[in-house]
């Protein structure tokens, strides 16, 4: 718990200096060499506090961050926090759904593969999920986009609603879901393999355990041996994996969001990097780190609940 907070503080300090090293003159790059009067540039520098010495900037940054003021975006001139909050729902919906789907389906496939190891089911599941796992997710996204939105136009090519759409209420929700289908499918396929492989190898380890022989000797059906004795023990590492992946729910889909023009945090990050929009990136990175740290904590707590051997953390 204290460790989590300390990690977060480290991220806070690290973030500040990282971007100062990456980009010495953010205002200059904002205009990309266009002929802008020096006075305008100086004004902007002053407005963003970039005329102050580095240490003063750092203390200002820390003070403002702790009072939950994350600054103003260089690009949109809107408060960073407002920009981020506006992009959160789209990302949480897309990556959240994909994370849950891939965890559930991937784990189920891993269980089947391990329990029927070295059969055609196992080979099919393992090689199939590996195939998608080894593809870059944005590339898989592009292939699906071309295949299922352009060549066979089953799905929209991008965005969260059609351009100029005026739907409201349930109709709008349906429209958004329809737009989400393809990127969500991409992400689910991309994440699936990880769960399948981890579940499969973890279950194979457990399958050699004596308590499964004991369970069979007691007269349990094969299915009960699997579900009651093997799977609960095999799922422990999968829970950790899932928690870590859920930490990336906010940040994990930068490339895929960019491919599908999905207006979430991933696309916001891609746009901010192009700037570079330092306050925006600082805010996003802080949020991503906080999410990862939080879900790791959740993983530890869940582990303690699932495995009686883990007493305290």
């Amino acid at each position: 718990m204290a460790g989590s907070l300390l990690t977060l503080l480290f991220v806070l300090v690290f973030n500040f200096f990282l971007f100062r090293i990456v980009q010495k003159d953010p205002i200059g790059s904002l205009f990309r060499g266009r002929n802008v009067p020096q006075a305008v540039i100086d004004n902007l520098r002053e407005a963003f506090g970039l005329d102050q010495p580095l240490l003063t900037q750092f203390f200002l940054y820390m003070r403002e961050t702790f009072s939950l003021n994350f600054g103003v975006s260089y690009q949109s001139r809107q408060p960073v926090w407002d920009e981020i909050v506006a992009a959160i729902p789209a990302t949480v919906a897309l990556v959240g759904v994909s994370a849950i789907l891939s965890a559930v389906i991937g784990t189920a496939l891993g269980i089947v593969a391990a329990w029927r190891r070295n059969t055609w089911k196992d080979h099919g599941i393992t090689s199939g999920t590996m195939l998608f796992y080894s593809m870059p997710d944005f590339w898989l996204g592009m292939i699906l986009l071309v295949g299922l939105a352009v060549v066979v136009p089953l799905f929209p090519v991008g965005g969260i609603v059609d351009a100029g759409s005026t739907t409201t209420g349930l109709a709008r929700l349906l429209e958004q879901t329809y737009h989400m289908a393809l990127p969500a499918f991409t992400l689910t396929l991309a994440y699936l393999g990880e769960y399948t492989l981890v579940t499969r190898s973890s279950l194979l380890d457990v399958m050699g355990e004596d308590y499964l022989t004991v369970a069979r000797a007691k007269g349990l059906r094969d299915k009960l041996v699997r579900n009651r004795h093997a799977v609960p023990n095999a799922l422990l590492p999968v829970i950790t994996l899932a928690a870590i992946n859920f930490g990336f729910v906010l940040s994990g889909a930068i490339a895929v969001e960019a491919v599908f023009s999905w207006p979430g945090l991933g696309k916001a990050t891609a746009d901010a990097i192009r700037g570079p929009d330092l306050p925006m990136l600082q805010g996003l990175f802080l949020l991503f780190s906080a999410a990862v740290i939080f879900f790791n904590l959740v993983a530890d707590l869940t582990y303690g609940f699932l495995d009686p051997r883990v007493e305290d953390i």
Partner: protein, 320 residues
Amino acid sequence: MTEPLLSMRDVSVTYHGSGGAVPAVRRVSLDLERGGSLGLAGESGCGKSTLANSILRLLPPDAVVEGQIVLDGKDVLSLRPGGLRAARWTAGAIVFQGALHALNPVQTVGRQIAEPMLIHGTVPDEEAAERRTVELLGRVGLPAARADSYPHQLSGGQRQRVLIAMALACEPMLLIADEPTTALDLMVQAQVLRLLEELKEEHDLTLLFITHDLSVLTYACRDLAVMYAGRIVEDGPSWEVFGGPAHPYTKGLAAAFPTIGDPSSRMAPSGLGGDPPMPGSLPVGCPFNPRCPYATEACLEAEPELRIAGTDRRAACILV
């Protein structure tokens, strides 16, 4: 004479792994009368646990079992899956070795003891199962509160007691004890042995006891069968076999125990030299001949069958 509870006829078990066929048990025949007790002794890898697990068909799929196993009138090897499940834990139950991971680490031991009762319907409901679990725990000398413990919270001796209570859950006729005292210290070993003996009397159990420790078997069992390289090489009443072994291998095993009060037996242990053969590559002739101090030319020719070696005694050695 009544029909034996367990009867094995020419039972062979062969593992068909990636390294070819490995014969772990070779043409073993034995009978166990109701209420009787038989000890199976032998070094690791001699096939005794494989033989024990074949009785409830608990071997991995790559193991092929041949011959005939009749348990309580049922031909085990030809049972359908449903019939096999029904026979498991009711006709015969196993006391597994507590030192192994025989208990599920994420379930309370109470649930694990109650599980077979609920599966086989020997109790009307969960409440009755809980009551009986507490009763069984009490019988093996554990407090009722232990039902809520997880395996890692128990000592080795307590885990072994839990496994004994679990084996008794459905009141089986045959109790197979597979190394139940291994990895326990001597005091606890003695307690567990006494407990098993008491339970055998109380519940009129038939006991098949497996261990590498000949002295334990002599204490716990009326009859003894010594296995070597997948076969029974000697059997007979425990004390006679232990006291006057007929087979050179049994002699070696019996001699490995120091005589208490005789320092010379401790100073010069006279156990067996060498290692048991790999089941995949058995020596030609009698499989014991490379380690046998009495081996002759004739021992290289053929593997001897069991022959009469006294009243109720048999041994597989040409010198008998």
